[in-house]
């Protein structure tokens, strides 16, 4: 693991890689791994769908049409309509947008907290290391998503009340605050794992000659960490981010399914499933477009992130695959 870095990987014996840059090598290796390549394609499509949702979706996600309730797929509504006559395809497309938004922002929060805290803990050690890692340990004392559930369930009413009392009723009504609550709830736990991971990487490189020589030649501490240590730890960090994104998408779905994440009419795959799964699971054709269509796409995205992460892991750590 320690020697696994983008710039320092040894080429596999059989490989005939003409590519020069490490990133191109990475891509070539990834392209040979079919599940990972498919994962990458799905992830790219997912983000494109999220960006262009208003252009792709045939209808607004919350437009109800009470003449067309629970209609099967047709030329005008490709995936049919739900119990309020809303177009399922549009809801799924906007659901991708919600999901991508949460995934990107939570990843950003995790990186913003996790990398500096982990690097500080690993580089300086001692009391500050103890403090940061014990804080992470306390977060790890809550199993699974329990802490996220707790934060989301308690924060949401508090934030909404606060917004109403401060003349932000419209904001509370709009549902944007739900995104904020979900992002805070997931951001607060995600940094701990990343920090622990970055700390381990920094510890592994701290005593290496190139770091010591940088320190000896008077490079400022911040630069030693940012220029000399972190780039070497980049590969495993990328793997953990990619794996983390799938987990964040899954968590957002579960939060919204539980009713403490994004609230209807804001579209989320989680609340679409919560609306439709208990109601339609026994009705076959309705089940197909109201439960399986959103559920299968949700599964596809989470799987794509997992396979991409797995493939990146192999591509970046070739020595494991000896």
């Amino acid at each position: 693991m320690a020697s696994a870095s983008v710039s320092g990987v040894a080429l596999p014996r059989k490989a005939n890689l003409r590519a020069q840059s490490p990133w191109a090598q990475l891509f070539v290796r990834l392209a040979r791994n079919l599940p990972a390549l498919l994962g990458l394609i799905v992830v790219v499509l997912f983000f494109l769908t999220a960006i262009f949702a208003p252009m792709l979706a045939p209808y607004p996600y919350d437009k109800m049409n009470l003449d067309l309730i629970e209609k099967p797929p047709s030329a005008t509504h490709w995936l049919g309509t739900d119990e309020s006559g809303r177009d399922m395809l549009s809801r799924i497309i906007y659901g991708a947008r919600s999901s991508a938004f949460v995934v990107l922002l939570v990843t950003f929060v995790n990186l913003l907290l996790g990398i500096p805290l982990g690097a500080i803990a690993g580089y300086f050690g001692g009391k500050i290391d103890n403090l940061i890692m014990r804080a992470a340990d306390i977060l790890f004392a809550f199993p699974g998503l329990l802490f996220t559930f707790l934060i989301a369930a308690t924060l949401r009413p508090a934030v909404l009340t606060w917004a109403r009392e401060n003349g932000l009723g419209a904001l509370a009504q709009s549902g944007y605050l739900d995104y904020a609550v979900v992002i805070i709830a997931l951001g607060l736990i995600g940094w701990a794992g990343l920090a622990r991971f970055v700390r381990g990487q920094v510890l592994a490189f701290k005593e290496r000659e190139f770091v010591i020589s940088a320190q000896a030649s008077g490079v400022p501490t911040l630069q030693v960490i940012a220029r000399h240590i972190l780039p070497n730890a980049l590969a495993p960090i990328i793997v953990s981010i990619s794996m983390g994104m799938g987990f964040i998408a899954l968590s957002e779905g579960y939060l919204s399914y539980l009713g403490i994440g994004l609230q209807p009419p804001n579209p989320s795959w989680g609340n679409i499933m919560a609306d439709n799964a208990p109601r339609y699971w026994r009705q076959f054709p309705k089940m197909l477009w109201l439960v399986i269509a959103p559920g299968a796409l949700f599964s596809l995205i989470v799987l794509a992130f997992s396979f991409l992460g797995d493939g990146l892991n192999e591509a970046l750590n070739p020595e494991i695959d000896a």
């Binding site: 707790l150 399914y257 403490i260 439960v291 949700f298 797995d310």
Partner: protein
């Protein structure tokens, strides 16, 4: 080693303190006053003030916290505010906890008996088609959302039905693989429990398979395995005595940590299948601001998790003598 155990024992009350105080603070200041939740938004302010005084909610934070912990240690976790009006939360949980524990234990047992052999074989026959399919399937099992799996499997397996697809013009009947899942809960050993248990055990299977496979690959590359082979030990004995036993050690850690999967599993599965465990209780509580139930469930699960992982920590040196020396 003794120092390690002492350090852990000193750390234990600190973790318990932070876990309880964080949960309590979030529960107290988050969802709004429990009195308002209980009486509704349009209650008389005088009544709210009087009840707040009676319930001790006008006390300083630390007094309320200490009262709460003192009561909790005696099994008194406050009262349900909405759905089970005035029933003690301690009793609500005590009634439901056995169901959740039985479900998860059974899922864990199934997960171990399926996952460990699968991982063992995958690690042994590394890079074979078998390994490839086990790895792919476990990756799928660990990342597929159970909120999708539940309605689909329930539909496919629970009752006899005709699939009539008018536009493809064919009829297909699939049989009752499982009895209808509805009505009264009849315990974990009844047919009704099969599907929920299967879905909960999928996660365990996947995690244990992946850990066991990684463990086997790690151990098979070790010098002592080469030594065992070099001295002419039969391959079967090399695998069983030298490789497998050592690869099983990290599994204990996973067993402790995998209790974490219990949370999502219990919350979502129990609610969907109408199983009367603490998961469905928590599901309702989290959505309806049942603040005493939220706090109690969170604290009980977190404390159980902390103790389980500490137990694993103490067990580890017994299983792996190499750690004892450090």
């Amino acid at each position: 080693m003794a120092a390690h155990i002492i350090r852990r024992l000193i750390w234990l009350p600190v973790v318990l303190f932070f876990v309880t105080i964080i949960t309590f603070a979030l529960g107290l200041y988050g969802p709004g006053s429990p009195i308002v939740v209980m009486l509704g938004l349009h209650a008389n302010p005088d009544t709210i003030a009087r009840l707040s005084r009676e319930y001790g909610l006008d006390q300083p934070f630390y007094v309320q916290y200490l009262n709460y912990i003192g009561n909790a240690l005696q099994g008194n976790f406050g009262y349900s505010l909405v759905k089970y009006r005035d029933q003690p939360v301690g009793i609500l949980i005590a009634e439901r906890l056995p169901v959740t524990i039985q479900l998860n234990l059974l899922a864990l047992v199934i997960g171990s008996t399926v996952g460990i052999p699968l991982g063992l074989l995958a690690g042994l026959y590394r890079n074979s088609w078998f390994d490839w399919s086990v790895r792919t399937l476990s990756l799928i099992a660990v990342s597929i959302p159970i909120i999708f799996l539940m309605p689909v499997l329930l539909f496919l397996l629970s009752r006899p039905h005709e699939l009539t697809l008018s536009f493809w013009n064919f009829k297909y009947t699939i049989g009752p693989f499982l009895p209808m899942v509805a009505g009264r809960w009849e315990g974990v050993l009844s047919g009704k429990a099969a599907l929920p248990i299967f879905i909960e055990s999928l996660g365990f299977i996947a995690i244990l398979t992946r850990q066991m496979r990684a463990g086997m690959i790690d151990v098979l590359g070790q010098d002592y395995v080469r030594t065992a082979r070099a001295k002419g030990l039969r391959e079967r004995l090399v695998i069983v005595r030298h490789a497998m036993r050592n690869a099983l050690i990290p599994i204990t850690t996973i067993l402790g940590l995998s209790l974490g999967g219990l949370v999502e599993g219990s919350f979502l599965v129990e609610n969907f299948f109408g199983i009367p465990g603490i998961g469905s209780l928590a599901f309702q509580a989290f959505t309806s601001r049942e603040y005493y139930i939220i706090m109690a469930v969170t604290i009980i699960i977190a404390v159980a998790y902390v103790f389980a992982n500490m137990l694993v920590d103490f067990l580890y040196p017994i299983l792996d003598p190499r750690i004892r020396k450090t």
